[in-house]
């Protein structure tokens, strides 16, 4: 007990030191930074995404709160937290993983207080004044008629579980997996009969439902563009649909089918007037949805998966998984394309109303957040860890606040300085730095100069000498080669009647060695003539004061072409008093001839001395 207490104490002390140190660090950085570090909590322990963070004026008093939907461990402890200043003021538990959170003005009541909508599983959970207010489930998807019939029969016990399973399995062959109900897919996972029976029994009285899962959520203003005008909720689902839901009555106003699963939906316009929705999907395409038609149309095909999509006026800006950062018109024409130095983790829009511009924040794997205005990099914010989620907006009474949740779970809040200048052009302009670097060229040395002078003076002579020596060398090479050929001193025989190849390896460290001779008849195989090399023996030439070899003469069998024969010879180094090393010559001789066919010189390794015990 005491020990735990002490460790906790230590941890506390350490962490306070740590915070102090980081703040000192920050001070240095801040001198040339556009951001003030307002709050840093390294142990906040958030697990969330950019879509799960929003700012909202929950009490209608102009004091904006930070709402974070926390995924907990990814399995449990899912909560929605409201932060004011540096502390959490409210916390509600969620039942399932939150996909996104957004604040919506749902009515015209004064004071104007928005509801917080949390998308989770297949439902929208609406909180008002941070109290649970309403739960809306997305409309159920149609169940396959065949499937419904089967379950119906099973429920009336006309069908035993085994046949049911078979029938469902059969059905599965002709329909994609996603078109079945959760009940069917769970039922098909059951292996034994009793459990299956139990399963059917358990679910007998429940309606057969086919639900979906929300993948993204956003809002669209209904009929007016003011900040606090009533909005509708836009939801994308796992079953490739996009719904627009009225936030007053909670009824679906419109629904669209698209070709892939939406990941991010971005909306422009007003629901009652005209609008366009851009749905970035898992297949790397962006589909455009319009008010008038229920048809979706591919607008942009990207080369990689989409990590972030932001819209700035009429341009769509994408951060892709292949580290590209590009801008397209809403018609699908690429305007520019940049390469980012690291993988993208998250993006956010920075809408700086006071200065009247919008920029895109890109959180990168190298712990940077880059600020791009158009294609110009205007600022780089260094964080302590990889940013997991970013959100820019009004927090408290501060208009331009950036909230970053780091991969370690830390929460960092930064405020944009009022003096911050984000010029329209890139901060880095002009020729690249490397243009000023000097080329690495070696200096002229005295030796070089001397050589040059010498050559200038005696060029002709040098040339002639060189040519002369070259000729001599060639001559002597040719002579040696000829001599070798004539006396069969080479390990290769090109005698057409007996082409042989000899090679040898020596094994061991001494004083006893094994020499492995590899002999090959290199004649080409032909069907009518076996071309056997017969009557050959191997002899060794060596100094008998140093080595003794057994056997002295190696009688070779008839050698067939293209097979390498291996023969082992035992060599004993008898000069034990000193480290001995010599060359042994192996000769292949044909019986009855004086001249060897092939010769191999084997230089022996140094032998270990004999250890006398």
């Amino acid at each position: 007990m005491v020990a735990i207490y002490i460790t906790l104490l230590q941890v506390f002390i350490l962490s306070s030191i740590y915070i102090k140190m980081t703040s000192e660090d920050q001070d240095e950085k801040e001198k040339h930074s556009n951001w003030l570090n307002a709050h840093y909590d390294p142990v906040a322990g958030f697990y969330t995404f950019s879509t799960c963070i929003t700012f909202a004026d929950l009490n209608g008093d102009g004091d904006h709160k930070l709402v974070i939907a926390d995924l907990g461990t990814g399995l449990y402890n899912m909560t929605i937290k409201v932060l004011k200043g540096t502390s959490i003021i409210q916390e509600n538990t969620l039942l399932d993983l939150p996909t996104g959170v957004t604040s919506v003005y749902m009515d015209l009541a004064e004071p104007r207080t928005p509801g917080v909508v949390v998308a989770s599983g297949s439902g929208l959970f609406v909180y008002k004044s941070m109290r649970p207010y309403y739960k809306y489930n997305l409309p159920l998807l149609p169940v396959l008629p065949e499937e419904a019939v089967l379950w119906d029969q099973a429920n009336n016990e006309n069908l035993d579980p085994l046949t049911l399973a078979e029938a469902l399995d059969g059905l599965k062959k002709s329909h994609p997996t996603s078109s079945f109900t959760a009940r069917t897919s769970h039922f098909l996972q059951i292996e034994n009969d009793a459990d299956a029976r139990q399963f059917v029994d358990d679910h007998k009285h429940k309606p057969l439902k086919r639900e979906t899962v929300i993948t993204c959520v956003t809002t669209i203003k209904k009929s007016m563009a003011e900040d606090d005008a009533i909005s509708c909720i836009v939801v994308g689902t796992e079953h490739k649909q996009v719904y627009i839901i009225d936030s007053e009555a909670f009824t679906p106003l419109q629904d669209y089918e698209i070709a892939s699963v939406p990941v991010i939906v971005n909306v422009s316009g007003l629901f009652d007037v005209d609008f366009r929705m851009f749905a970035a999907c898992r297949d790397g395409c962006v589909y455009v949805l319009k008010k008038d038609s229920l048809q979706s149309r591919v607008c942009i095909e990207l080369d990689s998966s989409i990590v972030g999509m932001e819209r700035i006026h009429k341009h769509l800006i994408f951060a892709l998984a292949d580290k590209t950062f590009s801008c397209y018109t809403t018609r699908g024409k690429q305007i520019w394309n940049l390469q980012l130095p690291a993988d993208v983790l998250c993006t956010a829009v920075m809408d700086h109303r006071a200065k009247g511009f919008k920029a895109v924040l890109v959180g990168l794997d190298n712990s940077e957040v880059r600020v791009y205005r158009e294609k110009n990099l205007v600022d780089i914010i260094k964080l302590n860890d990889r940013p997991q989620a970013l959100c820019f907006g009004r927090y408290g009474r501060e208009d331009s606040t950036l909230v970053a949740v780091l991969a370690s779970g830390a929460l960092q809040v930064m405020i944009l300085k009022r003096t911050a200048e984000y010029a329209d052009h890139s901060s880095h302009k002009g020729p690249p730095m490397s243009q000023k670097m000097k080329l690495n060229i070696p200096k002229k040395t005295q030796l070089f100069v001397d050589q040059t002078v010498r050559e200038r003076e005696n060029g002709t002579k040098m040339f002639q000498n060189f040519q002369h020596d070259l000729q001599l060398m060639r001559l002597s090479v040719a002579q040696t080669y000829l001599k070798g050929l004539q006396s069969s001193m080479t390990p290769l025989s090109d005698d057409p009647s007996m082409p042989l190849k000899l090679s040898a390896t020596v094994r061991g460290i001494g004083p006893v060695f094994q020499m492995l001779l590899t002999i090959e008849n290199t004649a080409a195989i032909s069907l009518n003539d076996p071309k056997l090399a017969t009557g050959l023996i191997v002899l060794f030439k060596y100094s008998d004061t140093i080595y003794s070899i057994k056997p002295l003469v190696l009688e070779l069998p008839a050698l067939a072409p293209e097979i390498s024969y291996k023969f082992a010879v035992r060599i004993h180094c008898i000069a034990s008093d000193r480290p001995a090393q010599d060359t042994i010559t192996a000769l292949i001789v044909k019986r009855g001839t004086k001249k060897p066919l092939v010769t191999a010189n084997i230089s022996m390794p140094v032998s270990e001395g004999v250890i006398v015990v």
Partner: protein
């Protein structure tokens, strides 16, 4: 510092440990009972419920988190979750485990045989494994299941290209482009055209591509290089300049643009550009060659030689570098070295006329008149219209007091001299020509005609005594020749980028080495061998090909 940074948040309280992102896997066991409120009838979670989370982590390349999530999900659904398997396979592919990834995609296909995407991924893995025929089948099958989209068409093109069925590949690429315009397809198709040796088509295609995506530096550079190859210098420079505005560190564009600047004598500007490239690609032989030739232009010979030697070290079998080395040593009056470099260049490239001229000049200065003459003859045979060869040959013959032959050569020289404007012939050469013709008393008529045509004033008459003049010029000629032939050598070197875009050239290189081995054996013993033994290889004119060595 960094240790405490990581350790602290975790230790401080256990709760924060659990909420940490990375801890997802450990939570598995405890969470089981909590997943759903299991009253009498548990609510069934749908199998796709965590797909969005898996996807979100996948696109952020957080593979570890992703893998543990997938395992969790597969456990929960007993391997029925198609998307989880799909992403698992994607991760494996990204990590290089293509075979296993292929098996997983096939498993996906078994789970859901209606989804063309699974088949597409199977096919993509087959391409990566080099099984293009299998991939073709897969793609065709996928096209039957769903729409034949850009992706399928493009990949079919890739497969056909690998299988050397160029016509089908072209058709597939065209179809892909008609479905959706992608830069990848544009550049693949342009490469295909180059492979098929249809640069015209490649150019018009790239032109379209550049209009489609005006800021793509890769496309701009490739198009610029194609224009350069067509000697369309103005347009080439424009395109390369555009590429450099968008990406000032684009190595290929720098090299090509720099070479153009060098061509116009802007050595300092070219050098500043090369500095950028030298930081980026310090081991490019072509780059160092071009830098050296800039120094040569600025008459900084020692720097030029050291740069060339570096280039030669980086790419020892590039004859152009050896050529330039020979040229520089001639300029430095180091004739023996010049001879060495030129002759090794010749073993690599035995059919290049100007090389023989260089050799001949070196030999002349080494007092090897007989061999020099043979070298000249060979040069004239290989390249009978080269002015530098002719004028040097003429000077050489004149110095040998063989005025008759010299006169003949001079006539040839004037005959081949291009008339007027486009001729940016250097004046020195023309002057020497005049002096020679005065001394030899030949071709006055011809000269006069030429004069008119080129509208150049005759500056002075051969006031000096003929022999001395020509003696002087013989050496200056060497320099001059150097100057003149530097042009071609340079040009060929800066083309590297070009040829890299033209992989077809690569296979042609091997002949170099074989010829070099032959050269070493046979022809060096006697200089005279040059004339007799050199088989002229039938290769396209140097310009684009040497390039390969660059990349």
């Amino acid at each position: 510092m960094s240790a405490s940074e990581e350790a602290l948040p975790v230790e401080k309280e256990e709760k924060s440990d659990k909420t940490n992102v990375t801890v997802v896997p450990t939570a598995t066991v405890q969470s089981k009972p909590k997943i759903r409120g299991r009253k009498n009838t548990p609510q069934l979670p749908i199998i796709e419920r965590r797909n969005w989370l898996i996807h979100r982590h996948f696109v952020r390349k957080e593979y570890d988190t992703c893998k543990s999530l997938i395992q969790e999900q597969l456990k929960e659904t007993r391997g029925q979750c198609e998307y989880a398997i799909y992403i698992q396979a994607m991760i494996m592919r990204n990590e290089g485990d293509i075979q296993n990834s292929l098996e997983l995609f096939q498993a996906c296909h078994l789970l859901n045989s209606k989804n063309p995407d699974n088949l597409k991924q199977v096919a993509k893995n087959l391409i990566l494994l080099g099984k293009h025929k299998g991939a073709l089948e897969c793609y065709n099958h996928a096209a039957e299941l769903g729409e034949k989209d850009w992706d399928i068409c493009h990949c079919l093109g890739v497969c056909y290209q690998f299988l050397k069925q160029y016509d089908k590949a072209e058709a597939s690429y065209q179809e892909a482009l008609s479905r959706n315009r992608h830069i990848v397809t544009y550049s693949a198709l342009s490469k295909l055209y180059l492979e098929k040796d249809e640069p015209e088509k490649a150019m018009s295609l790239l032109q379209k591509a550049v209009e489609f995506s005006p800021e793509n530096t890769e496309l701009l550079t490739s198009l610029g290089l194609l224009h350069l190859r067509k000697n369309n210098f103005h347009r080439a420079f424009e395109l390369l300049g555009q590429a450099l505005t968008f990406d000032p560190e684009n190595y290929k564009a720098i090299l090509a643009a720099g070479s153009l600047m060098q061509k116009h004598g802007d050595y300092d500007v070219a050098l500043t550009k090369y500095r950028v490239a030298a930081q980026k690609v310090p081991e490019s032989a072509s780059l160092w060659n071009n830098i050296a030739m800039c120094f040569f232009g600025k008459k900084k010979y020692v720097a030029a030689i050291s740069c060339l030697k570096r280039a030669n070290y980086l790419s020892p079998f590039d004859w152009r570098i050896l050529y330039n080395l020979g040229l520089l040593h001639l300029t430095m009056e180091q004739y023996a070295s010049a001879f060495q470099f030129t002759s090794s260049a010749l073993t690599l490239k035995p059919d290049h006329g100007p090389l023989f001229t260089l050799l001949a000049v070196a030999l002349t200065n080494l007092e090897q008149t007989e061999n020099a003459e043979r070298a000249y003859e060979q040069a004239a045979k290989l390249n009978p219209t080269d002015h530098h060869t002719m004028i040097n040959f003429c000077v050489f013959l004149h110095n040998q007091n063989r005025s008759k032959e010299a006169g003949k050569v001079l006539r040839k020289f004037y005959k081949n001299l291009p008339t007027e404007k486009n001729a940016n012939l250097d004046k020195e050469m023309l002057d020497v020509g005049k002096k020679l013709s005065a001394a030899l008393n030949v071709g006055d008529k011809l000269v006069a005609e030429k004069e008119k045509a080129s509208k150049k004033k005759r500056q002075k008459d051969g006031s000096k005594t003929a022999p001395s003049t020509s003696k002087d010029t013989a050496t200056s000629r060497a320099d001059d020749d150097a100057e003149g032939s530097r042009g071609p050598a340079l040009k060929s070197t800066d083309l590297p980028p070009l040829s890299s875009s033209k992989p077809a050239n690569l296979p042609k290189l091997p002949p170099l080495s074989t010829s070099s081995s032959r050269g070493v054996e046979g022809d060096l013993p006697k200089r005279d061998d040059f004339t007799s033994g050199q088989p002229t290889m039938d290769r396209p004119k140097t310009k684009n090909k040497p390039a390969l060595l660059a990349e």
